[in-house]
Every structure is written in C-alpha cells, then in structure tokens.
Assembly symmetry: C2
Homo-oligomer: 304 residues x 2
C-alpha cells in the first residue's frame, strides 16, 4: 500500500492529504438544515450532514489528491450513526481511487491492538468467511505501550499489504511535555523514531519506503529535519499545516532529496476553506469548489 | 461519578471490574451457531453473538460488581455492527445500575480530544437538542500528546460529572520501553503521574478521590506501590490481574490505607472462566454461572 501511496503522490504530483474532519461548525447551514429537516434534530441527521459534506468535498478534489485522512473522533462524537458514516466515507473514497488513512490513533496491549488492527486494516474470520470492518488502507498508531502494542498492527500491514503511521512528534502545543523529555541527552521522540525503523525494517516496499511510517507535526520543523534523517525509510505524515500554523516552505526538510518521504495533511484549511477570507467569494453554497481551490493552492505552496 | 463508583465499591465490598472483552474465541459455540444460523456468516452475526454473550455475563454478575469495562477494540473489530453492540452493551449495563468504564484509550490534539470526549462521556448539540453518543461513565485516555490532548476530557468530566483513567504504567510486557525511560533519574511514568495529579486537582469528589484516575498494571506491583504514593487522590484502574499474571496479594499496595483507591479488572479470567480447568465443571452451556463463580473467587482473592 505504501507503493500505491507513493505512486499516486508522484502521478498527481501532490504530497497532499485532505483531512476529512467534519466538525458540525464547518458544515454549511443549508446542508445541516436539509438533514435535520429530513431526520429531525438527531445523531442520524448530524451523520447525514457529515456524509453530504464529505461526499461533496471528495467529489470536488479526488482527481487532485492521492489520499484522504478521515479523523474518526469527528464521527465517534455522533455515536453509532457517526461511525457508520465514517465507514461509508472510507468506502466511498476507496471507490474514488483514493488511499484512505484512518486517523484513529489506536494502540493498546498486544491482544487488543490485534483486534483494532483486524477491524481497521485487517479482517476477522466468522465461520468460513473472512470479513472486513472499516477497511482503511493506513491508520495512525499511538506508541505509548511499546513494541508489543504496535507489532500486531505491523503484522497486519505485512499480511494484508496495509500501512501505519506511528505518532513520533505530534503537532499540538503540548506535544513536548512527554515526547521531548531527554533520556541520556536524547529526546523520547528519537527513541520512538528508532523503534519506527525497527518495526518497519521488514516491510519496505518497491518504492524504497516502509509500510511503517511516522507522524511528525508541521509545527516542529527543526524536529522534522532531525527525524527525516533518523528515519530514512519512513514516510512522514505531516499534520499541522495551514490552520495549525505550518507553512509550505517550512516543510522542505520533512522530504528526502528524491522529493518523496512526506505527505502533508490539511483539514480545516481545505474542508472549511469557504470560511476563510481568501475563499469567501465562493460562498457557503460553493464550499466544495472553495475546497478544490484550497487544494490547488496548497499543492502550489508545497512546490519547492 | 467517582463518588458513585466508590459508593458501589463499598456497598458491594468488591473493588472489582469485569472486562467485557468478548473475543469470538471466548464465546461458546452454541451462541455463535445460533447467531450465524439467524444472520449468516456476517459481521452482524458476530455482533449478535457478542451481545448475547455479554448480556448473559452481565445478568449473572451485576449484583456482585460495581462496574464493567468494555474494551471497544473487541467491538470495532466487527465494524459498524460491532460498535452498535458496544453502545447497546453500555446502555444495558447502565440500566443494570453498573458504572461503565469504556476502555477506549483515546487521546489526540485538543480539538480532536474534545470530539472524543463529547462522543464518549459528553454530548453534542444538534440544532436545539443536546444528544449523547456512547454514554460511558468513565473512559481510559492515552497521555502521549500531553496536557492539551487530555484537558478536553477533564473539562467534560467536570461539566458532565464523568471520569477518566489516564494510562500511566500499562500492564503489557513492553510497557517499559518508553514509560520506564529515566529522565533526570525519574521514570517517564512518574512525570505522567505528576500530570495526573495536576489534571485532577480541580475535580476531587466528596469521597476524596478525583475524577481523573490512572491506569497502572497489576503486573508491575513495585511501580504500583510507588505510584499509589505519588497520586494519593487518583483512583487506580488495575488491569492485568489473573490471566495477564497478577495475583491478589501482589495488589495490596495499589490500595490506600482506607481500603479504597484501586479497582482491579479481570476480563478473560471472568468472561471465559468456563474454559479454565478450575471452572470446567460448569460446561460451555453454563458459561455465565462460571463467570459468576469466578467473580466470587476474585472478590475473595482481593480481601487482604
């Protein structure tokens, strides 16, 4: 799957992933009104509004981008109907040929991580049938529990040709509280990076990159440069561009000399572009066209 | 909610939580056969089998125990139908008067953690209505992203009278890989413990304990003793008893002198008791009675 991701990044010349993180406040009023008109003020209505919003964004951008990254929290907030729309969104994006990165940040003890892996990137066996739950191509994984909490995901990556991005240095302001702690002069995130190399060494694709990638926030360009060098075969998923503060030129060192090695996420900056001054001319009715323009501009901003 | 948990622990004289982690392999064949007979070899059938299994276990044990802890991974593995049974299980346990600890180990950047908190322990506003997604009483939270990834959960604890257990030192074999790293002579989990105190200081209940608790594995009794002293107001959720290796007498130091301060989880050891030699006499047909006996024995083992 890492080969497919790299292929699409090269084909579309766009190291860009659109974060499908639909807060209700991002969704234009006319969509919410239509959904609540049909289904009342219910979780089902919220989920329907999310679905209509996502579908329009995907339809307007899929030819430009290699991948999407739905953030499952934004769906879980609406309970079971929300999770059902997460599944529907994943399925729809795959039909459109997109690589789907489920931003689920799962991670637990071994047997539990195995269940998460089965549900999101693997399969379960029921009687004589092999069935799939959520069917993302990649997911994000939290490393706090160590190797036996991550290995079950890596095993499924190998068996099912999928991938993961392990949280190494996250984009949020307080990420340094634990991640930057110095252990014998070396930051904790560097130890995590060493493990990312170890976990990923047996699943390097034809493209030269491993199915085990890393998350490093755009908001920490110095650490990005260091981590790029430390994990030469790990694809880096870079959140925090745009709305969270990162800029295109700051991200050059997240990439390798081959122009590959990183994929930059933007969520709010794309899906709620119509709310920004720059794209306000589109109006709420044309939110999806605003999103498309924001993708075009982001791709341009990342050419260096 | 911490007051309610402590009240039930005292009333039932049982610092015990039953982990509802229904691997398909734990579910007696007759239940799986009935479910697949009705619904085919589908995710819906697996979810139905899980539901029937859970319901029987809860019916057989709810009068003895203060709380249950469904592990959401075991439901997510069956996709949307599995997650729907997670929600149904939470609801049913609450109808039975149990405190429900959702073992979800969520944690993300601030805005995303806020969405998880809304979905699992808080609420969302849709039009003029306040609606709830999964409705657990407590959830487990991963601290790797630091304060701004945890605070949204704490805020909801205060607003909605709910609680969280933050992963401090997990029960799995490789938990030391990052959690035990020494930073200026102090283990990383001690820094996390300091933060647990800080996060929880404004939400101490009438019982003297905070809504912000901690997860410390039964498999690490020495660290348990240290962490008990470091976090005097944090309730400690203790996984890893029984099947993962911990024993009753090893756990005395997870408790405070008042006999409170810890609640010990057993999952497989209870729900799959009928598969153990000790309870084999019950037979698979009477798996729920075996679970009840295992709860009785666990409560006895924890009297010291």
């Amino acid at each position: 799957m890492i080969d497919e991701l790299v292929r699409q990044i090269q084909e579309k010349n766009a190291p860009v992933v659109v974060g499908l993180d639909p807060m209700l406040s991002y969704i234009p009023e006319h969509i919410v009104i239509q959904a609540t008109g049909e289904k009342g003020e219910t979780l089902e209505a919220a989920a329907e509004a999310v679905w209509q919003f996502n579908k329009a964004i995907v339809d307007a951008t899929y030819d430009l981008i290699p991948a999407v990254k739905p953030q499952i929290a934004m769906y879980e907030q609406f309970g079971v109907p929300g999770v059902a729309v997460f599944a529907k969104t994943v399925e729809y994006c795959k039909e459109k040929g997109l690589v789907v990165i489920g931003d689920v940040k799962r991670g637990d003890i071994g047997s539990t991580s195995a269940a998460y892996a089965a549900g999101h990137i693997g399969s379960v066996k029921i009687g004589g049938k092999v069935l799939r739950g959520f069917q993302e191509d990649f997911i994000t994984v939290n490393p706090y529990l160590g190797t036996d909490g991550v290995k079950p995901f890596v095993d499924v990556c190998r068996e099912a040709d999928k991938g993961i991005f392990v949280l190494v240095k996250t984009s949020n302001p307080s990420s340094g509280e634990f991640q930057d702690r110095l252990v014998d002069g070396k930051a904790l995130y560097e130890y995590v990076a060493d493990k990312v190399n170890e976990w990923g060494e047996d699943c390097v694709g034809a493209c030269g990159y491993s199915a085990v990638g890393a998350v490093v926030g755009a908001t920490y360009p110095e650490q990005g440069k260091l981590l790029r060098a430390l994990m030469p075969k790990a694809y880096i998923l870079v959140p925090g561009y745009g709305a969270q503060g990162g800029k295109g030129k700051d991200l050059v060192h997240f990439f390798n000399a081959d122009g590959l090695g990183a994929i930059v996420n933007s969520s709010r900056g794309i899906i709620a572009a119509y709310k920004q001054e720059q794209y306000a001319g589109f109006g709420a009715e044309h939110f999806a066209e605003a999103a498309r323009q924001a993708v075009v501009d982001m791709i341009e901003d990342l050419r260096f």
